[in-house]
Symmetry: C2
Subunit: 342 residues, 2 copies
DNA sequence: TCTAATAATACTCAAGGGGAGTATAAGGTG
DNA sequence: CACCTTATACTCCCCTTGAGTATTATTAGA
């Protein structure tokens, strides 16, 4: 079969090239096909105003598993697999990105295609079996939390280090610093919470992220120390899992603005402040309370349950529930083109 | 070389298989591993106010090829492959979606993962070798072109057929018709040009699309008649290529609203009307001329070249060029959250 | 019991973006 | 020259949106 031949030949080519450095050289015959597919999930929940992500392996990896042919579709495969592993009912699933960089090749030329998904779930039940645990995503991206103002980390650590990095290359200095200023909001620019991935990639490129210092291939075999780099720029993860997480956060931050996905993260009934805190947790920014309520109400996204919540610490708040009908009623998309209505 | 061998063998396999109507049921044993990966490209150009997509196989398929392990990344692989095949310089590339539905399984359990990409290219040089040719995407989605008003097809054909389909199932009647009304803008609702995929999937579900009538598995082997269904609901394509095209169109229609990708489709210099016509071709809707210009200018997306174009049919128009700097200057993303600036 | 703190909720106001239209300029063609 | 076509400038007005003030309903504590 074509694929086999292709793979085998490639194996050899790859094998030849790769092992010039390290010399773990597996028998090239042992692997027949060069391609395997993995599913990687960014599972998000928000509890007590913290955005949580499900992790395994001592909080250094995203849950992932082999793509099984048994399922009708990728989506179904992921859903079944997640629910089996974690017992979490998955409200919302969305494909994120498919990675197949050569650098990701794992054990000896075995080429891995990773299809990543974003999944939203309610609250946070017992996190299933295995060593799965929930962790705030700001543990991996401390510079992304601007809810109490811009973190000192940005100004005190990231800015100077990026400046130094920019100056390392006189030719590209301008360009580098402009990118840094744009993504991190230096030089008086506004912070843009959606640029999560761009910021991570910039830090990676500047080698401020421990993942960037690892060798490419043999890396799979040494996940590195668990907390060695924690104090600085957030917890590291294996492989490119942190990049995938960044992709998921960025996607979610963009999505909440034009699609009512927040409600997938909320309990059945909630107060408006709880909803606001959830949005703020995701966006990493504070929101204008009155205007937020106006936005929610004029879009008719919620309806009163008639009950109130007493445990607010102040005046009791009305409880609301999501009006699921809106999903069918209208497609929420924004126009930016001056479309002629005539 | 691997690539050659792979390609040649695939050619043969495909060639052999394509014209045998059914019987092709290979021995399930022949394949050891179930997974192979394909790249599928939605290549778009706009010429003379028409949005074009590159097709092969008598305009019934999108260009695709095996994923080659030799490249550094998927993106690089696609770029190299496209440029080799078509000699088109690809300005912009974006991953669309990864499909791996069981229904797509081609030859007997061989599981195919298809990673689809959207690519934008300038104008339209000679379309390379092979049987590649450009075709207006509205040939596949005639109901999507609202530039001269809502097509009669929508009101005269689609609406009644969807109504009939809704009424087939008394239980789901309400729901079905609401979906139809929402996506196609029936019952006085506004047309939303971004819902390309939703509309296609609705028509597919209602079996108004010939692709939906094909059997699942042996389908690969019989692409069906070339123009049998043309007069009705647009040209058919093999497998799920039309769905992928719909995904690409939808993504592009959404993207032009918040990211200056249109310019990847324009020649080096252009008049504002040419730019407008290009946007209109993509969006499938007319745009308010004066407000469109205001939008472009206030965003400082273009700068005058100093020259003018005479062949407008009227007063000569200033020529403009895209200000590439804006890409670095600012990240264009829109906020819909009432973020507190204090 | 009275007071301060916390939060919910209602309302106001001004600036700006965006939809829509009018007016004028500058080329062609008969 | 009249008349068509397109380019370009400018106006108007409403509604969204950012920002702030005022009022109400609770709890905690002096």
């Amino acid at each position: 079969m074509c694929l086999t031949c292709c793979a085998v030949l490639l194996m050899q080519t790859l094998g030849d090239n790769l092992n010039t450095e390290t010399k773990l050289r597996p028998a090239p015959l042992s692997i027949e096909h060069g391609i395997s597919a993995d599913l990687i999930a960014v599972l998000v929940a928000v509890t007590c105003g913290e955005p949580l992500v499900l992790t395994i392996q001592d909080q250094r990896a995203l849950p992932s598993g082999p793509f099984e042919l048994a399922h009708r579709s990728l989506q179904a495969g992921l859903r079944a697999w997640v629910e089996r592993q974690t017992r979490l009912p998955l409200g919302y699933i969305e494909q994120l990105y498919t990675f197949a960089d050569r650098d990701r090749a794992g054990v000896a030329g075995q080429h891995v295609i990773s299809i990543s998904y974003l999944g939203l779930t309610r609250e946070q039940p017992a996190s299933g079996e295995h060593e799965a645990s929930w962790r705030s995503w700001y543990a991996y991206f401390p510079w992304e939390d601007h809810r109490v103002g811009p973190p000192l980390l940005v100004e005190n650590v990231i800015a100077p280090q990026l400046k130094a990095w920019a100056q390392q290359d006189k030719a590209r200095q301008q360009d580098r610093w402009q990118r840094a200023a744009m993504t991190f909001g230096f030089e008086g620019r506004a912070w843009n919470e959606e640029l999560v991935l761009q910021r991570y990639e910039l830090l990676y490129e500047a080698k401020l992220i421990p993942e960037a210092l690892r060798g490419n291939l043999p890396e799979v075999l040494r996940p590195g120390p668990a907390t060695a780099t924690e104090p600085g720029l957030g917890g590291a993860m294996i492989l490119d899992h942190r990049r995938i997480l960044a992709t998921g956060i960025a996607r979610l931050r963009a999505k909440i603005k034009y699609h009512p996905v927040v409600f997938e993260l909320m309990p059945e009934t909630f107060t408006l402040l709880q909803l606001q805190r959830c949005v703020e947790a995701l966006a990493g920014r504070l929101v204008h309370k009155q205007n937020f309520r106006r936005l929610i109400e004029q879009q008719e996204l919620v309806e009163e349950t008639g009950e109130t919540s007493q445990d607010t610490g102040g005046r009791p708040a009305k409880l609301f529930r999501f009006r699921r009908e809106v999903l069918a009623e209208r497609a929420i998309v924004g126009t930016k083109l001056p479309i002629s209505r005539a």
